[in-house]
C-alpha cells in the first residue's frame, strides 16, 4: 500500500510551493515525521514531512520546481512494494481543466495508461500557468475558423480574434493573408479592407482602428513590460545629413520675409508626420488589451517650461504647411511657457518630438509619453567632415534617436520608419510627393 506525498499548504495563504531541496532521495527509507524536503512557501522555507513509513518513490518535482498545493510530488511505498517506474515523462499530465482540449484519441490513450499501471495512479504534477507555455496555445476560435486556419496553414495564435471574448471568427481569417504571419508589420495590412459586415466598434466613425492583441502580442506586452519597466523602451539612432534641409529652410524663410519663420524643428515635425503616414505601425497607442492605430497624425512637441515640460500637440501635422506648423508651434510654445494651454491642446498626440538641439546636445534618448508608442529625440546640428561622392567635405549633420515601445513597435518597424524620416529630411522635396 503506497501513500501519495502531496504539496501541502504549509501556510494559510499558500497556493503553491517551490521545492528548495530534497532531503530524501528516490529509494530512501522514510519514517513518519521525517523531513522529506524543504519547501519555499509565500512566506518562508518550511519542511515537508513524511506522513507514512516506507520507501520514497517517484519523486516528481525537481528541486527548484514550483508546484501547486495539492499536487502529488512523490509516493511513499511499502518496503519491497513494486512500484511502476516514475512517470517522469508523463509528469506534466494535463490538469482536469485543460482536459477539454484533449482529442478523443488522446483521452483514450490516457485512459489506457491508467488501466495498465498497477499501483499507484500516475503522478500528476500540475504545471503552473506562469511557467507553462501551454497558456499561449489556448486559442478561442470558432469551428469554422479552425478549419479555415488549418486549410490555409495559419497559426491561430497569431490571429487577433474579434468575436466575443477575443474568439477568432471567420472574418478574422478573411482579413489575414492566407500565408505567412498574419500580424507581420505593417499593421495596416491587418486592417480589414474587404470585410463586408464589420462590427461597428471599428467603424463607429472614430478616426482609428482598435486591433485586439493577439496571443503572441499579449505575451510580448506582458513580458517586456515586466522586464524593462512599465514601458519597454528600445532606442534607434541615425545621423541625418541636413544640408538640403538647411538650404530649403533658408529659401523658404527668404520667401516668407517678415511673415514668419520656418525652424528646423518645424521641418522635423512635418517630416515626422509625413513619415508616420507611411508607417502607420508607429502612429499608435498601447491600450492594455489592444493597440490603437490612428488614422490621423497628431505630433506632440516637447516644450520646456519653468518647472518641467509639456507637449502641446500639432494636430494633423501631415496635412499642414510648413508655414502653418511654424506659426502654430510658435504660438503653442509661447502659451505653454505662459501656462495658457487648454487641456485639449496638450492631449491626444499620436507621436512626439523632443528637440534639445539648441542646448548643444549631440544625441539623447527621450522617454515615451504613454500611451504613445514612440518619440524621437533630436540632437544639435553640427558641421562634420563626411565623404560625399568620394570627396571629404563639410556637411551639417544631426542625430535623431527614436525611442520605441516594444509592445507596439518592433525593431525593424521602428528602423523602417526612421529610414523614411531620414530620407525626407535629406531630401525635403520628398514631402511633396
Amino acid at each position: 500500500m503506497s501513500t501519495n506525498v502531496y504539496m501541502e499548504a504549509l501556510s494559510p495563504t499558500m497556493e503553491e510551493g517551490r521545492v528548495v531541496k530534497w532531503h530524501k532521495r528516490d529509494g530512501d527509507p522514510v519514517k513518519v515525521g521525517e523531513t522529506l524536503a524543504e519547501v519555499e512557501t509565500d512566506k518562508a522555507v518550511m519542511d515537508l514531512v513524511a506522513r507514512a513509513d516506507g520507501v520514497l518513490r517517484q519523486v516528481a518535482a525537481a528541486e527548484g520546481q514550483t508546484v501547486a498545493v495539492g499536487s502529488v510530488v512523490a509516493v511513499i511505498a511499502a518496503p519491497g512494494e513494486a512500484v511502476g517506474a516514475a512517470p517522469a515523462a508523463a509528469a506534466p499530465v494535463a490538469s482536469s481543466g485543460s482536459g477539454k482540449r484533449e482529442t478523443l484519441k488522446d483521452s483514450l490513450t490516457v485512459a489506457g495508461n491508467v488501466a495498465t499501471v498497477t499501483t499507484p495512479a500516475p503522478v500528476a504534477v500540475v504545471p503552473l500557468p506562469a511557467t507553462a507555455p501551454a497558456d499561449a496555445t489556448l486559442v478561442k476560435a470558432s469551428p469554422l475558423a479552425r478549419r479555415m486556419a488549418k486549410e490555409a496553414g495559419v497559426d491561430l495564435k497569431l490571429v487577433a480574434g474579434s468575436g466575443p471574448g477575443g474568439r477568432v471568427v471567420k472574418k478574422d481569417l478573411e482579413r489575414t493573408p492566407s500565408q505567412g504571419t498574419p500580424v507581420a508589420s505593417p499593421p495596416g495590412a491587418a486592417v480589414p479592407s474587404t470585410v463586408a459586415r464589420v462590427p461597428f466598434p471599428e467603424r463607429s466613425g472614430a478616426p482609428y482602428d482598435d486591433i485586439p492583441l493577439t496571443q503572441i502580442r499579449k505575451t510580448i506586452a506582458k513580458r517586456l513590460a515586466t522586464s524593462l519597466g512599465p514601458i519597454p523602451h528600445f532606442f534607434l539612432t541615425t545621423e541625418v545629413d541636413m544640408e538640403r534641409a538647411s538650404e530649403a529652410r533658408d529659401a523658404l524663410n527668404k520667401q516668407l520675409g517678415d511673415q514668419g519663420k520656418v525652424s528646423f524643428n518645424d521641418i522635423i515635425i512635418k517630416a515626422t508626420a509625413h513619415a508616420l503616414t507611411k508607417h502607420p505601425a508607429c502612429n499608435a497607442w498601447f491600450q492594455d488589451d489592444h493597440i490603437r492605430y490612428w488614422h490621423e497624425v497628431h505630433i506632440g512637441m516637447a516644450v520646456a517650461v519653468e518647472d518641467g515640460l509639456i507637449t502641446p500637440v500639432i494636430r494633423n501635422a501631415d496635412l499642414k504647411s510648413l508655414a502653418d506648423i511654424g506659426r502654430e508651434a510658435k504660438e503653442l510654445a509661447e502659451r505653454a511657457r505662459n501656462r495658457r494651454l487648454q487641456p485639449s491642446e496638450y492631449t491626444g498626440a499620436t507621436f512626439s518630438v523632443s528637440n534639445l538641439g539648441m542646448f548643444d546636445i549631440d544625441q539623447f534618448t527621450a522617454v515615451i509619453n504613454p500611451p504613445e508608442a514612440g518619440i524621437i529625440a533630436v540632437g544639435s546640428m553640427v558641421q562634420k567632415a563626411v565623404v560625399v561622392d568620394g570627396q571629404v567635405t563639410a556637411r551639417r549633420r544631426m542625430r535623431i534617436t527614436m525611442s520605441c515601445d516594444h509592445r507596439v513597435i518592433d525593431g525593424a518597424t521602428g528602423a523602417a520608419f526612421l529610414k523614411t524620416l531620414k530620407q525626407m529630411l535629406e531630401n525635403p522635396l520628398a514631402m511633396l510627393l
Binding site: P143, L144, F200, R203, S204
Partner: protein, 463 residues
C-alpha cells in the same frame, strides 16, 4: 430638472421598449415616448394578434381533419369575430406586460406624440424633455396602399392589416395583394374562416424573399387547399365599388377581372419619419426613406440614434429588439457584440410555417459560391408522420470547402421554432458537422435538421 433623462426613446415598439429596458438595466435614467399603446405595431396590430388568429385558423383546419385521427367533430363552425376578440385580449395582455416592464425597470412612459428638437430634446405637447446622453428614434412603420392604381386604403372595401385585425366577420371573398409574410399569413387565416382568398404577387413567386423551394412548397400547399395563387401578376387597376372591388390583373400575358368583397393591401410598409422633427435636428434619410445611420446606428445628427424599422431593413421586430439592446449598450459606454445582419432569422407563420436564415440557394449561385445543398423532407420524419405534419422539408446549404452553413430553409410544422438551432450554429460559426454531431432527440421534427446536415455531407441515414 424633472424632464431630464440620460436616454429618451421615441416610440415604444419592440425596438424602443427593449432599448429602454436595457438602458435602465445599465443604470441610465430612461423615458419612452409613445403616442398609442406600448408594444407598437408588433404587440397591438402585428406579430402578436396575427399569431393568435393563425392559431384559431390552425385549430379549424385541425378539426376538419380530425376524423382521420379518430376524433370526430361533425360540424366545424368558425366565427372570425370571436377569434378576433381573443386576439385582442392577447394583444392587450402583451401591451400591459410591456407597461409592467416599464414600471419594473423604472422607465418613465410619456404618452403623446413626440417631436425631436435640436440639443437632444423631444417636445411632447407643451413639455420638453431633454436627453443627456442620447435620443433613440424608434418610430417604426405603417402599412401603405397603392393610390396610383386606385387602391388607396379606404378601410371598408380596401383595407390593410390594421383593419383586418378588427373585422367582426370574415368577408365572403378577399384578394390579398402582396404575398410576403403578411399576405401569406392573412391568406391562411381568412381561408380557414371560410373566405374565398385570391393571393396576388407581383414578383414571379410567392414569398419572394425566401428560397425558391420554399415558395414552391407553399404555392403547392395553398393551391391544394383552394387558395388562388397568382404570382408574377400586375394589378393594373383597382376600382372600389360600394360592396365590392374589381381588380384588373395581368398575368401570363392575359388580363383578367377579379371581383372581391374586400382587398387586403399587404405590399410593403412605409416608415414613420414624417412630422417628428428629423430635418430640424439634422437627421437625414436615405433615398429609400429610412433614417441614415452609421455602423453604431447613430444618425447624421450626433446623439440621435435610429433603431428598428426606421433604421432600415429587414423590418422585423427581432432585428429592432437587437438594435435597441445594442444602442443602449453603446450609449452606456459598453462594447456590444456587433449585430450580424446576415444572421437574422426570417419567419412566416402560415401553415406550413416557413423559416430561414442566411443565403437562399439563388443567392449562393449569384455569389458563385461553391455549395452543396442538403435536404430532408418531413415525410421521412417519424414525429412529423405521427402528427400528420409531413408537408415541407429542411434544406441546408453547405459551403463545400469548409462546411460553413451558408443558409438554412425550413418549411413545415414548427419551422419557426426549429430554425433557432441553425441561428445559434451560424452565430457561433459551427459547421454542418457540429450540427450533426449534436445528438438530436428522437423522435422530433428537429431530427430533420441533423439529417439535412448529413445529407449535405452525402451520408444521410433516414432516407
Amino acid at each position: 430638472m424633472a424632464n431630464q433623462f440620460d436616454v429618451i426613446v421615441l416610440g415604444g415598439g419592440p425596438a424602443g421598449y427593449v432599448a429602454a429596458i436595457r438602458a435602465a438595466q445599465l443604470g441610465l435614467s430612461t423615458a419612452v415616448i409613445e403616442k398609442e399603446k406600448l408594444g407598437g405595431v408588433c404587440v397591438n396590430i402585428g406579430c402578436i394578434p396575427t399569431k393568435a388568429l393563425l392559431h384559431s385558423a390552425y385549430i379549424a383546419s385541425l378539426l376538419r381533419e380530425a376524423k382521420e385521427f379518430g376524433v370526430e367533430a361533425s360540424t366545424v363552425k368558425t366565427d372570425y369575430g370571436v377569434a378576433m376578440q381573443r386576439s385582442r385580449r392577447v394583444s392587450d395582455q402583451n401591451s400591459k406586460g410591456v407597461e409592467f416592464l416599464m414600471k419594473k425597470n423604472k422607465v418613465t412612459v410619456v404618452k403623446g406624440a413626440g417631436v425631436l428638437q435640436p440639443g437632444r430634446k423631444v417636445k411632447v405637447g407643451s413639455d420638453v424633455y431633454e436627453a443627456k446622453k442620447a435620443v433613440l428614434i424608434a418610430t417604426g412603420s405603417r402599412v401603405k396602399g397603392l393610390p396610383q392604381i386606385g387602391l388607396e386604403i379606404n378601410k371598408t372595401t380596401v383595407i390593410s392589416s390594421d383593419e383586418a385585425l378588427f373585422l367582426e366577420k370574415a368577408p365572403a371573398s378577399m384578394a390579398i395583394i402582396g404575398a410576403g409574410a403578411v399576405g401569406m399569413e392573412f391568406a391562411d387565416i381568412f381561408h380557414a374562416f371560410g373566405t374565398k382568398v385570391t393571393l396576388i404577387e407581383a414578383l414571379p413567386r410567392i414569398l419572394p424573399l425566401e428560397d425558391g423551394e420554399a415558395s414552391d412548397a407553399l404555392a403547392k400547399s395553398y393551391k391544394k387547399r383552394g387558395i388562388d395563387v397568382i404570382a408574377g401578376a400586375k394589378v393594373k387597376k383597382g376600382t372600389p365599388g360600394k360592396d365590392t372591388v374589381t381588380l384588373e390583373v395581368e398575368a401570363n400575358g392575359a388580363t383578367q377581372k377579379i371581383e372581391v368583397a374586400t382587398v387586403l393591401m399587404a405590399a410593403g410598409r412605409a416608415v414613420n419619419t414624417e412630422n417628428i422633427g428629423l430635418a430640424e435636428c439634422g437627421v437625414q434619410v436615405t433615398d429609400r426613406g429610412f433614417i441614415k445611420v452609421d455602423q453604431s446606428l447613430q444618425t447624421t445628427a450626433p446623439g440621435y440614434y435610429a433603431i428598428g424599422d426606421v433604421a432600415g431593413p429587414p423590418m422585423l421586430a427581432h432585428k429592432g429588439m437587437r438594435e435597441g439592446v445594442t444602442v443602449a449598450e453603446l450609449v452606456a459606454g459598453k462594447k456590444p457584440h456587433a449585430i450580424r445582419y446576415d444572421n437574422v432569422p426570417s419567419v412566416t407563420y402560415c401553415h406550413p410555417e416557413v423559416a430561414s436564415i442566411g443565403l437562399t440557394e439563388d443567392q449562393c449561385k449569384e455569389r458563385k459560391l461553391d455549395y452543396v445543398p442538403g435536404r430532408f423532407p418531413f415525410s421521412a420524419n417519424g414525429r412529423a408522420r405521427g402528427t400528420g405534419e409531413t408537408e415541407g422539408f429542411v434544406k441546408i446549404l453547405r459551403d463545400k470547402k469548409y462546411g460553413e452553413i451558408l443558409g438554412a430553409h425550413i418549411v413545415g410544422g414548427h419551422a419557426s421554432e426549429i430554425i433557432h438551432e441553425l441561428a445559434v450554429a451560424r452565430e457561433n460559426e459551427y459547421t454542418v458537422e457540429e450540427v450533426e454531431l449534436a445528438i438530436h432527440a428522437h423522435p422530433t421534427m428537429s431530427e430533420a435538421v441533423a439529417q439535412a446536415a448529413l445529407d449535405s455531407l452525402g451520408r444521410v441515414v433516414d432516407m
